[in-house]
């Protein structure tokens, strides 16, 4: 526990001095100007928090607080999944510069709130999810995820996945099959798409604004460009100096773009065949981005926050297995 507390203290010492001298950057001023608390509106939780603390220093301090909460929830999720506490994994999420854009840029607020909602829901789903207390926690998580950002709909993929992963929870009543939440979440997702218009409307958001005509694009453009962005961020995890607000994805070769797509598909296969929870979170968190995000707006570092959490969970799972094997031998 001491090492985890040390990681939290180091995280505070890393971010507090830059936060103290922060000025509005890039689209910060527009984000603050658009943030009006309107219950039930798009991103209402994010907008309310931005409206309450709009000053550059205060807004970033709130982001940092949310990042610490998200890291703590990742630790709790490890325990709920039956793994041992892994301070190195929590420290990795706290201290790697992959999280820096999410903390220092106000656009990251939506990702942080949505990630907290998703993690809260996954914590509830990882145990006896049919109990009233867990259902209440699930509901709170879903409200936070959807009120954080549109990408919070991931909660309807990750909750059934968590329940499927933890099928062997004891004392499950007969009605609480893993298919029940999966069916409910599928119905909510399909209903949401139908209510919004249809999938084409969702995909063509930028097209309606006149920025991009999605009909001019091929599926290969669509998938491979976002695949290239995934490959770029995976490379930046290994070599952090690559981190930037706007990487040059257009100049990546087709091979690198295919590597990104293969990484997503490989993680999906790993989740299915080996029941790797972190790999499943990574694949499911990236997959909708490949469909909904237009190629003109690449997956950027703050949008990579939840897939990054999935990779941290992969590391945590590997460390837990290694520790168990070492103890057994």
């Amino acid at each position: 526990m001491k090492t985890t507390i040390a990681a939290f203290v180091v995280c505070l010492s890393v971010y507090l001095p830059p936060i103290w001298q922060a000025q509005p950057v890039y689209e910060d001023a527009e984000i603050i100007a658009d943030a009006r608390p309107q219950f039930g509106g798009a991103r209402f939780v994010t907008n309310t928090t931005l409206w309450l603390a709009p000053a550059p220093v205060a807004a970033r301090a709130v982001n940092l607080g949310l990042h610490l909460v998200a890291a703590a929830l990742v630790g709790v999720l490890m325990l709920r999944l039956g793994w041992s506490w892994q301070p190195v994994a929590v420290a990795l999420l706290l201290l790697h510069a992959m999280s820096t854009e999410t903390v220092m840029y106000l656009s990251g607020r939506g990702e942080l709130v949505a990630a907290i909602g998703v993690l809260l829901s996954c914590c509830a789903a990882a145990g006896a999810w049919w109990r009233p207390s867990s259902l209440a926690l699930l509901a709170i998580g879903i409200v936070l995820a959807l009120g954080g950002k549109e990408s919070g709909v991931l909660v309807f993929l990750l909750v059934p996945f968590t329940i499927w992963h933890r099928q062997q929870v004891e004392g499950r009543p007969r009605w609480a099959t893993p298919w029940l939440p999966a069916g409910l979440c599928a119905a909510v997702l399909l209903g949401g798409i139908a209510w919004y218009g249809d999938l084409r409307v969702l995909v063509n958001i930028e097209g309606t604004l006149g920025l991009i005509d999605p009909r001019a694009l091929l599926w290969s453009d669509w998938l491979l460009l976002q695949g290239g962005a995934v490959a770029y961020w995976l490379a930046a995890l290994v070599w952090p100096p690559l981190l930037t607000p706007d990487p040059d994805i257009d100049r990546l070769s087709v091979v690198i773009r295919c590597v990104g797509l293969l990484a997503v598909c490989g993680c999906g296969a790993l989740a299915w065949r080996c029941r790797s929870y972190g790999a499943g979170v990574f694949a499911l968190a990236v997959l909708p981005r490949l469909i909904v995000q237009t190629p003109g707006g690449y997956l950027n570092a703050h949008q990579f926050y939840l897939p990054w959490v999935g990779l941290v969970l992969m590391v945590a799972s590997w460390l837990a297995v290694r520790k168990r094997t070492a103890a057994a031998s």
């Binding site: 890393v14 952090p240 607000p245 706007d246 190629p295």
Partner: protein
């Protein structure tokens, strides 16, 4: 032990990258250094240079933007770069060197 050394190095890098996000000048200078041929960061970097009166360097940045290829998903930059080059030329005429 090795893991904690690596985490220490990562924390040091996170600290320096967090400083990049404290002002537009540092943000776009860093972005232009990492992606020197990408039009969007070069355009913002050019605007930062104009605000500092570094017109010759701004011209170079806008030239990169103006020569950006038209992509089906990102086609506005060549136009933006040319417009900024014209505005920069007008500024230089008005205020001299």
């Amino acid at each position: 032990m090795l893991a904690w050394v690596v985490l220490g190095l990562l924390a040091l890098h996170a600290r320096s990258y967090a400083l990049v996000w404290t002002s537009n000048v540092q943000l776009w200078t860093h972005a232009a250094a990492v992606a020197p041929l990408k039009p969007r960061p070069m355009n913002f970097y050019g605007l930062v240079l104009v605000s500092q009166g570094r017109w010759a360097e701004a011209e170079q940045a806008f030239t990169v933007v103006a020569s950006a290829p038209d992509l089906p998903w990102d086609s506005k930059w060549a136009l933006t770069g040319s417009r900024n080059l014209r505005s920069l030329a007008a500024l230089r005429r008005r205020y001299g060197r």
